[in-house]
Amino acid sequence: MSENTAIRAEGVGKEYYIGASKTKYQTFGEAVTNTVTQPFRKVAGLIRGRAAAASGLEERIWALNDVSFEIKHGEAVGIIGKNGAGKTTLLKILARITSPTTGHVDIRGRVGALLEVGTGFHPELTGRENIYLNGAILGMSKGDVTRKFDEIVDFSGVERFIDTPVKHYSSGMHMRLAFSVAAHLEPDILIIDEVLAVGDSEFQRKCFNKMEDAGQSGRTVLFVSHNMAAIARFCDRAILLESGAIVEDGAADSVVSGYLMASMGKAAHQEWPEFESAPGNECVRVSSVRVVGANRVTAESIDMRRPVGIEISFSILKKELIFVPAISVFGDSGTHILNALDTSPKWREPQEEGDYRVIAWIPANLLNEGTLIVTVFLMDIWRYSGKPIKYAFITEAVAFQVVDSEGGPSGKGDYPQHWQAAIYPMLEWDTTRA
C-alpha cells in the first residue's frame, strides 16, 4: 500500500441473514411438532456455534459484494446510491462497527466516524456533561475536549443553556450542540453519514465551512449523502453503489449527474435514427436533441457559471410552413423555469426543405443548481391567431444538471450552499447614495 493511500478496500463483502426461512406446514400436526421441536433445533444450532441457525434466520443477502477502491490522503469522496445500495454498510465496515464477511480494508490514519450526530447524548445530562461524554465516545481525550470546550460551545450557539439538561433543549439546539462536538474531532480520515442536514440554514452554512476547512487542511473525507448538490460541491470524487457493488467511480459532478439522470430515466442526448418514428409529422421530423457545453460537446452537467446550449436537429419536409424552435425548461420538482423561442426573422418565413440544427444558448449565471428537464417544440406561432400549431412536441426530451463545483463568483456570490430558487441570475445592481 503506497504512502499516500489513506484507504484501500479489496473485495469487501458483507452478508446479512434476513428473515426466517419459509417452511410451509401441511398439517396441523406438523405445525405443532415443529413448534415443539424448534427450540431444540435452535439450541443445537447454538451449541454448534451457528448463531444464524439458532435464530432461525436462513435467508441471506449480500449487502456489499466485492467492493474494491482506493482513496488517497486529502481526497474528499462522496458515496451515493439508492436506499439499500450498501452505502451505510460500507461506512460501518470502514468505521469498524461491523466486520466484513469477505475481503479486507487497509486504513492508514486515525479514523473519526460520524454516523449519526448526538450518539450517546443523554437527555438528563447538561450540555456541558454531554460535550465531555460525546467527546469521549468520539475518541477525544478529556484534555482535548477541555482545550476545545469554548470553541465547541461557541460554534453551537447554546452558551446560555450549557448547564441545562439537554432534555430541555429544542431539537435544533440539541443537534447543533451534537454537531459542534463532532465538528471539532480532528481525525486524519473523517467518515460522515448524512449528518449535514441538521439545523437551520445559518447553522448548515457553518457546518459546510467546517467541512471545507477539513478538506483544505488535508483531511480525507468520506461522505454519504442523498444531497447530490452537496456531493457535487464538496467532493472531488464520487463512488456510485448499486445493489452492493460499485457501478461508477469518478469525478463527483459527472457521477452525480449520471446517477440523477439514470434514476430519472433521462439523458443529455436523445436521438431518433429511424426517420419514420422520429417525433414530428409529415412536415417536419426531429432527429436529435442534446445538451451541450460551450465547446458543443454533449454535457450532462454544467457549472452554473457557464452557458449551456440546447441543440435541436431536425429536417424540414414541407417548405410552405413556418417552424419556430422553442424550449421549455423545468426543475425536477416540476417547477416551470423558463420558456424561450427563436424570434429571429429567419423563422418568420418558410424555409427550404433540408436538415437544420439550432442551438438555444442559456446564458451563464442564470440557472440555479439542480436537475433541469427540457421540453422541445417546433411550432408556428406567427401565421395563425389563437392556438399555435405544434408540429413537433417532445416533452422531457433531455435533462442536465447544473452544479456549483468550480467556485468563484456566480449569481450566488460565494455562498457555499444550495439556496432554493428557480433561477440565480447575476444582475446589474445600481447603487446611489440618497
Binding site: 439458532a54 462497527i97 466484513p100 467546517k210
Partner: protein
C-alpha cells in the same frame, strides 16, 4: 471561525495503520486497546451514576432502602420466626453484611446482561472496544455499594462490633464480587445480544443464586466437608468473607475462597473470550 489546525505533513511512522478483516474464531481480549479507551469507560460510568437517580424523589435513598428493607424482612422471617442461626452475631447485621455485597453483585450482573441492548445506539454507530459496555454497567453500581456499605458501618457501630485486622481483605473480596459479576455478565450480555431469552432468564437466575448463597443463613449449616464445594458458588466465598473480615465470624474462608477465586476467574476469562468471539455480530443483531 478558526480553521482546524491539522498539519498536512504526515510523518509516516506516526500514522496508525489498520487492517480490517473478517474476524473468525477466537480473538485475543484486546486489553491494550481497552486501556486506551479508559477515558470512555470513565465517562460512561460517570454518566450512569449521574443519571441513575435523576427525576426520582428519594434519589440515592433507593440505594439504602432496598438492602435495609431486605434486611428487615430477613430478620423478621428468617431470624425471628424461623430462628435460623447467625454464627453468634445479631441476625440483622449478620444478614446485612451479606446483602450489601450481594446487592452489588446481583445489580451488576443484571445491568451487565442487558447492557449491550441498552447501549445498542452506541454500538451501532461508533467503534470502541465493546467490553467497555458491560464493564461500565458493573462498575456503575459502585456508588450504591458505597452508600449501603456506609449503612453497614453505622450498624456495626450500633451493634458495637469492632472489625478485626482482617478488614484489609474487604477490597479483595469486593474485587472478587466484581470479577464474578462481570464474568457472568460477559457471558449473558453476549448471549443476550443474539437471544433475548436471556432477559427473562436473568431475573430467575439471580433469584436462584440468592437462595444458593449463604445470605439468610450461615454456610456453617453445611457439613464441614461440603464447605469447599460450596465455594463453587463464588458469592458464597464473597459473603462469608465479608462476615469474617467485618464481623469477625470464625468462618475464615480458606479453601472455600480459593475455589471461589478459581471459579470466578474462569468465568471472567471464558466470558471475555466468548464475548470477543461474538462481538463482531453485535452491531448487526442488536
Amino acid at each position: 471561525m478558526k480553521i482546524l489546525s491539522t498539519s498536512t505533513v504526515h510523518d509516516a511512522a506516526s500514522i496508525p495503520f489498520l487492517r480490517i478483516e473478517p474476524s473468525r474464531g477466537w480473538r485475543n481480549l484486546g486489553l491494550g486497546e481497552l486501556w486506551d479507551y479508559r477515558g470512555l469507560l470513565y465517562f460512561l460510568v460517570l454518566r450512569d451514576i449521574k443519571v441513575k437517580y435523576k427525576q426520582t424523589v428519594i434519589g440515592a435513598g433507593w440505594a439504602v432502602i432496598q438492602p435495609l428493607f431486605t434486611m428487615v424482612v430477613f430478620t423478621l422471617f428468617f431470624g425471628k420466626l424461623a430462628k435460623i442461626p447467625s454464627d453468634g452475631i445479631p441476625y440483622p447485621i449478620f444478614s446485612f453484611a451479606a446483602i450489601v455485597p450481594w446487592g452489588f453483585f446481583a445489580n451488576g450482573l443484571s445491568q451487565a446482561s442487558g447492557s449491550l441492548v441498552t447501549g445498542g445506539g452506541l454500538i451501532k454507530r461508533i467503534y470502541f472496544p465493546r467490553l467497555i459496555i458491560p464493564i461500565a454497567a458493573v462498575l456503575s453500581g459502585s456508588v450504591d455499594f458505597l452508600l449501603a456499605f456506609a449503612i453497614l458501618l453505622v450498624m456495626m457501630v450500633y451493634f458495637g462490633i469492632t472489625p478485626t485486622f482482617a478488614v484489609v481483605w474487604v477490597p479483595m473480596l469486593l474485587l472478587l464480587a466484581v470479577v464474578t459479576s462481570l464474568g457472568v455478565g460477559l457471558w449473558l450480555s453476549a448471549l443476550n445480544a443474539q437471544f433475548r431469552d436471556v432477559r427473562y432468564a436473568v431475573g430467575f437466575l439471580v433469584q436462584m443464586w440468592l437462595y444458593c448463597t449463604p445470605i439468610a443463613y450461615p454456610s456453617s449449616l453445611l457439613p464441614e466437608k461440603w464447605q469447599v464445594i460450596y465455594g463453587l458458588n463464588p458469592m458464597a466465598g464473597v459473603v462469608e468473607g465479608f462476615r469474617w473480615a467485618l464481623l469477625g465470624t470464625d468462618t475464615a474462608p480458606g479453601p472455600m475462597l480459593i475455589v471461589s477465586v478459581a471459579v470466578s476467574l474462569t468465568l471472567l476469562v471464558t466470558g471475555g473470550y466468548y464475548f470477543r468471539r461474538m462481538e463482531k455480530n453485535f452491531a448487526d443483531v442488536i
